[in-house]
């Protein structure tokens, strides 16, 4: 056999031995490597996954490379590689022989010898032994492979989950494994709504979608199929770790703020493997409160005479969970006022109520732009923040500034003009030679004009708009003057046909008509001035806000709507201002002129100039005065004006006698009302001079005071917290002390009140003490003290009745003094009642009642019956105040036609030193207020407030 053939055969036999073995071993090796690789991949980090990939791919590659290499290598080299392991010498010899043969062939030498050498060398290689040995090796490798595969398979089977996880992790994308694995055996879900909802915790089914209020804390308790992993609860964006609850479950808390699909995940490094099961959670958002206002939306024009003076606002507020505040909101222009209607500390889902809004309130009566009225309610959502719900709006459209006043002035002037027409008739009587017919016609004209005067005057006197009417005393004065306007002689009267007598009668009537015309004219001028000033002040506010809006425009932050609304207010007011006499004309012209320049600059967007113009207008309107005061100028005449003071329209030089009489009467009435109140207060306060009280009664009161102190002695001096009975106990002691002091000062009524309050406090203390097992002793003390104080109060009340009978609560001299003052006051009221035209008839009726009650009070004081006297005095006081209202006066300040005090100051009695008890009175009033029974919950707050005042 040729050496080549032998070699080829040897290699073939070798390959046959190793082929199957090689394949099996490779497979086993790859399997094992794969298992390891998956386990490495399960770590989850990027490095481990990369390594796993390496481990999976590389061995296969290597095997393929080795096979390719084998096929490429020639037989001889393979022989050398195979046999060279054991038979190195023989292989080397063969190698040398083959080289020699090759060389011989190359140099054309004898190749037979070389071939012989090669054959001999080949024969020397123990091929059989080698192959036998290789076969043995292969057998052992096969056996090892079998073992290895068994081990690998066993291992894989035992950690199949790990391998599955590893594979899942290995092929993950975006940190999430592609295959969801069943980790969760069981799931328990509970939901706890936010605390402010005060709802109980409940169990949630894991199936389907469950909805919960925003802020709900969802507790997920999981029973895991496979333990010892890092599990989390996730909605895909956020994760919350599941932690051991000590009962072999894992638990996590999830706060729900938006809809979520929660899954359990096992986290492996950067990769998570999700559980197949998902928990769907929806969110119920807290709704804003729903507020309804009865009648809204609605628009009311305040210029309408049929609009009531007060607007009832009935509302209802409801919230899905709970209300915190309900407020009345009034908004006009840029100003907003809020008033609290209700405030809730506890859960209240529905609140309804009513509020009466008086249209005379400043924010409404002084508004120049529409007033928006609505009710707003705020809920108690602490999760996403409280929300406000708003009702529909009631819009109160104020009359145009000056509109109502202008209508009133028009009515007044109509009356004046009617009197002027009548005057003209009276100034043009028929001649002495006039015929009967001429006389008759003239009388008819007189009568007709007189009737017309009465009609239009009555209309003027009846005029009324919200906050605008003719004051009673002015109306009374006009009425009085009108009553003096004589009617023409009736046809049967001799003067009707006698020109001479007609002239006489006309002359008499003329004076009355002149008085009427001049007075009405003066009143109109005075009201013009007042209206011009008051309207000017209102419009000044609009002008200020307009200027501010222009300033904001320069900063690009104003709203065009605001600008136009202010401009509209000013524009609409100007025509009415022109109707208010010289000052109104001046200001009306100013407004017209300035609006012109403001609008011009505004149209050109020159905001700065527009702002300055608006400020100039505002400055002028704020001043609300004539353009030029005092006659003469810097270069003009030094004085002696011609026509300045008369036609300045500022009215008369001063009030005439009747006006003065009116004011005097009004001031006297005001003083009388005040004095009556003082007398009634003195009587009710039982502020008799105790220094002159009966000695025995004094001693008795002092003894009672001591008893009261003794009864309250065991009570605590200081409370130990608002929840403790000691707090109420200390309060009761304080009231008892107050009662004792009052008794010492002779104020029996106050003492009785204080004792009642003390008993109420102690009852509360007793209840609180009863609740606590550690306060039994305290309960006993409180009960005992309450009983003793009750006994004392009974005794003092009995004493009080006796004192009242004797009149020993104050001295006889004191009673006499009060009786005298009351009698004098009644006389003063009587004098007021008997006044003439300076006291309107409407006021005389209540004056009469006041006088009657005053006389009754005088009699009662004379008999020592303080109670009856006090009642009568209060009645008298009410009647006097009613009389003041009829005059259109309030208890303070004199007033002009518009009901606002612009001229004159009220008369003020300067008290003497004996009368002034200001600080003492304040303290006593506060203490009296504190002493009155009040709910236990608010009493502490009242006390703290009052103490703050006193401090």
């Amino acid at each position: 056999m040729k050496p080549e053939e032998a070699t080829a055969e040897f290699v073939a036999r070798y390959d046959r031995i190793w082929r199957a073995t090689r394949r099996g071993a490779s497979a086993v090796a790859w399997l094992a490597t794969s298992v390891v690789a998956l386990l490495v991949a399960r770590i989850g980090s990027d490095g481990s996954r990369a390594l796993a990939c390496f481990m999976l791919v590389v061995p296969v590659s290597l095997a393929a490379i080795a096979s390719w290499h084998r096929r490429r290598t020639d037989a001889h080299r393979r022989l050398f590689a195979i046999a060279g392991k054991r038979s190195r010498r023989e292989v080397n010899a063969l190698d040398r022989a083959m080289r020699t043969e090759k060389r011989a062939a190359q140099y054309d030498e004898s190749t037979e010898l070389a071939a012989l050498a090669v054959s001999r060398a080949m024969m020397r290689i123990p091929a059989g032994d080698i192959l036998l040995r290789e076969a043995t090796y292969a057998m052992w490798v096969r056996r090892a492979s079998i073992v290895a595969v068994i081990v690998t398979i066993a291992g894989a089977l035992s950690s199949f989950v790990f391998l599955a996880e590893g594979a899942d992790v290995l092929f993950s994308r975006g940190g999430i494994a592609p295959v969801r694995l069943p980790y969760v055996r069981d799931l328990e879900v509970r939901a706890r709504p936010p605390a402010y909802l005060r709802e109980p915790e409940r169990t949630v089914s894991g199936d389907g979608v469950s909805r919960h209020p925003k802020g709900t804390v969802v507790t997920v308790r999981v029973d895991m199929l496979v333990p010892k992993r890092s599990f989390v609860l996730s909605d895909g964006a956020h994760e919350v770790p599941l932690i051991d609850d000590g009962q072999e479950n894992l638990v996590a808390h999830w706060t729900l703020s938006e809809p979520a699909r929660l899954r359990v995940r096992a986290r492996f490094g950067n990769v998570a493997v999700e559980d197949a099961r998902a928990l769907e959670l929806g969110v119920i958002h807290d709704e804003s409160p729903v507020v309804t206002l009865e009648g809204a939306p609605l628009q009311l024009s305040l210029a309408d005479p049929n609009v009531p003076t007060a607007l009832p606002l009935r509302y209802r507020a409801a919230d899905d969970h709970g209300l915190r505040d309900v407020e009345l909101v009034l908004r006009t222009g840029a100003r907003e006022t809020r008033r609290s209607l209700s405030h809730f500390e506890l859960d209240t889902r529905v609140d309804s109520g009513a509020y009466t809004l008086r249209l005379s309130e400043a924010i409404v009566s002084e508004a120049t732009s529409p007033v928006e009225v609505r009710i707003e309610a705020r809920d108690n959502d602490t999760v996403s923040g409280p929300k406000w719900g708003k009702s529909e709006t009631i819009v109160l459209v104020p009359p145009k500034v000056g509109e109502s006043e202008a209508l009133r002035q028009a009515a007044l002037r109509k009356a004046r003009d009617a009197s002027v027409t009548l005057l003209a008739t009276l100034l043009s009587p028929p001649q002495k030679s006039a015929s009967r017919e001429e006389l008759r016609l003239w009388s008819e004209r007189w009568r007709s004009n007189a009737n017309n005067l009465k009609t239009v005057t009555a209309e003027a006197l009846r005029f009324e708009r919200p906050n605008v009417r003719l004051k009673a005393r002015l109306a009374a004065r006009i009425s009085k003057l009108l009553s003096k306007v004589k009617a023409p002689p009736s046809p049967a009267h001799p003067g009707a046909t006698d020109p001479k007598r007609s002239l006489l009668m006309a002359e008499e009537a003329r004076t009355a008509v002149e008085d009427f015309a001049l007075t009405t004219d003066r009143i109109a001028q005075g009201l013009d001035l007042a209206s011009a000033k008051s309207s000017s002040k209102k419009l000044a506010t609009s002008a200020d806000e307009l200027a501010n809006a222009f300033a904001a425009m320069q900063r690009d932050s104003a709203e065009g709507v605001t600008l136009s609304s202010y401009l509209t207010v000013l524009r609409e007011a100007a025509p009415y201002m022109l109707a208010f006499g010289p000052l109104g004309r001046e200001l009306g012209q100013v407004i017209k002129n300035d609006l012109g320049r403001i609008e011009r600059e505004s149209a050109s967007k020159r905001w700065r100039v527009a702002e300055l113009s608006a400020r100039d207008l505002a400055a002028r309107l704020h001043t609300a005065d004539f353009a030029m005061q005092s006659s003469g100028g810097g270069g003009g005449k030094g004085g002696g004006g011609s026509g300045d003071s008369a036609d300045s329209g500022s009215g008369r030089d001063g009030e005439d006698d009747l006006d003065q009489a009116f004011n005097d009467a009004a001031n006297e009435l005001r003083r009388a009302a005040r004095d009556q109140k003082q007398l009634a207060d003195e009587n009710a306060g039982d502020r008799g001079d105790s220094s002159e009280a009966d000695d025995a009664a004094k001693a008795e009161l002092k003894k009672r005071a001591e008893s009261v102190r003794q009864a309250a002695k065991p009570l605590p001096n200081v409370g130990q917290g608002s929840d403790s009975w000691t707090s109420k106990g200390a309060s009761g002691k304080e009231q008892a002390e107050r009662a004792a002091r009052a008794l010492e000062q002779g104020n029996v009524l106050e003492a009785i009140e204080a004792l009642r309050t003390a008993e109420s406090d102690l009852e509360e203390a007793r209840r609180m003490a009863k609740k606590s097992p550690w306060s039994r002793e305290g309960e006993g003390e409180v009960t005992d003290a309450a009983r003793k104080l009750g006994d004392e109060r009974g005794a003092i009340e009995k004493l009080q009745r006796e004192l009242q009978k004797k009149g020993a609560g104050s001295s006889p001299e004191r009673l006499k003094e009060q009786e005298k003052r009351q009698r004098e006051l009644s006389r003063r009221v009587g004098r007021l009642m008997n006044l003439g035209e300076e006291m309107p008839d409407e006021a005389k009726d209540p004056l009469g009642h006041a006088q009657k009650h005053g006389e009754e009070a005088t009699k009662a004081l004379g008999k020592g019956d303080r109670d009856k006297a006090r009642d009568s005095q209060r009645s008298a006081q009410r009647e006097l105040e009613r009389a003041l209202e009829q005059l259109g006066e309030s208890s303070g300040g004199s007033a002009n036609g518009n009901g606002s005090s612009t001229e004159g100051a009220p008369l003020v009695d300067v008290p003497d030193g004996k009368k002034h008890h200001g600080p003492d009175e304040l303290r006593e009033r506060i203490q009296r207020g504190l002493g009155r029974p009040s709910g236990p919950r608010i009493r502490d707050a009242v006390r703290r407030y009052s103490e703050g005042l006193l401090r």
Binding site: A619, G632, G634, G636, G643
Partner: protein, 505 residues
Amino acid sequence: MRKWFKKLTISLSALGIALGLRGTSHAEFAPDALVIRALITRHDTSEALKLLTFSSRRSPALALEEARLRLYTGDCDGVAAAATGIVHDDEAEHMIEVGEGCARVTAAATLRVDEGAGLEVQFQEEIDQATFPLIVDAVVRARQMLERELGADWPRPTRIVVVRDQLSLSAMTGLPYQAAKTTGTAAVAKWGKVTMISPRAMSSGFEWRDTLAHELTHLALTRLTIDRAPLWLQEGFAKRQQIRWREANPFDARLSPELTVKNGIVKKLDLPLDKLGNSLATLPSAAQAAVAYAEVESFCGYLLRETSNVALRAFFTELNTVKTVDEALKKATGAELGEWEKRWRAWLATVPSPPVKAPSATQSGKRPRRLNERERLFELLERSGEKEAALIALGDLGHAPFDARAATLRGRGLEAVGRVDDAWALAQPEVVTGGYGPWWALRQRLAASRDVSVSSVAAELAVSEDPFGFEAACQARPFVSPPEELLRPALCAASRSLNVPPSEP
């Protein structure tokens, strides 16, 4: 030669100011700032601007002068910006305040310019523009008079601002509002301009063109004396010159200042000439202001009579350079102020009282109440068209001289019923205590068919007092349509837009 002399005067004046203003509140003196101030005070604003522009440093003193210049030229918005950086300076703060007030008042104001006359007039309210021709006429004539009589010259333009009320006057000039109200100030010459209240501000107007002439006199004297003229000189000559721009009217001499002063002396309202304060507008009362005006007017008249126009001008010139007023007066006239005042008071004692009692400035100005009421009834009846009844209601006015307003009403009433001759009798200066707008208007109407020149003068005087009064502007009685041909149709239109109907309500 004259120009050279003028320039020398200016330079010496500037030097004088520089020397004289030492000790002013400003800590830092810069010669250029003082020169600039002098130029501004003389109303040489363009020269001042040149110097300011070329001045290399920007010290607080210069900033102050820049602020002042802006006030003079009407750049009110720029005052605050110019005065930025000046701290703790009352003058600067005052200027800023005035600048703010001026900006507010003149925001969107209408500017009318007469290039030929060299006049700029700003009207706070557009409607006052109707008086522009009257203003131009008065200013031109007043300037000519002042040039002629005082030797004044006028840099152009002359600036006038017409405001609507004393509040705006106060804001523009810095005069406290209360002071303006108390003394009834109608105009102020300050900051290089005349700021005056519109004649609309008073219901029957006032002698506003005389007031304008008065203030222009102040400007002239300020320029002539670089604001060193004492108050008595300023006010005395202003009062004297205020009527000299026009034809004299019968009432000019009616109320002589001497009588007013004598009455004031009796009531102890008079003041020594060197104790008048900084401004007559800040005197405690209108009555005292009236007496003070009469004092200075009388004194200046006396001084002029006893010396001469030449001496007066020399006095102005001396004021530019010497340290004290007495020094200047002595140099120009031979005696100091005290001596002159003595002489004047002695002369005053010899002045006799006139036979007809004229209303004195110390009277309160009130008229009998009954007359007031009758006048009001007249107006009401006139408004109703009851002319005869109106006349009856007004009744008899008693004996002449009559109150001007009463005479006007009665004359109007007579005119309305056709008794024009009786009305004409009341339109004579001899029978009334004084003239005022509506009275002049009555005279104008009644004279129209008798004596055109009288009518023309009366028309002029009517609008000089009450240009927006219907009667003066429209040359017609109230409640009557104006004639087709009007002297001043624009004024009539303005009046009608204001007073519809007249004398209302």
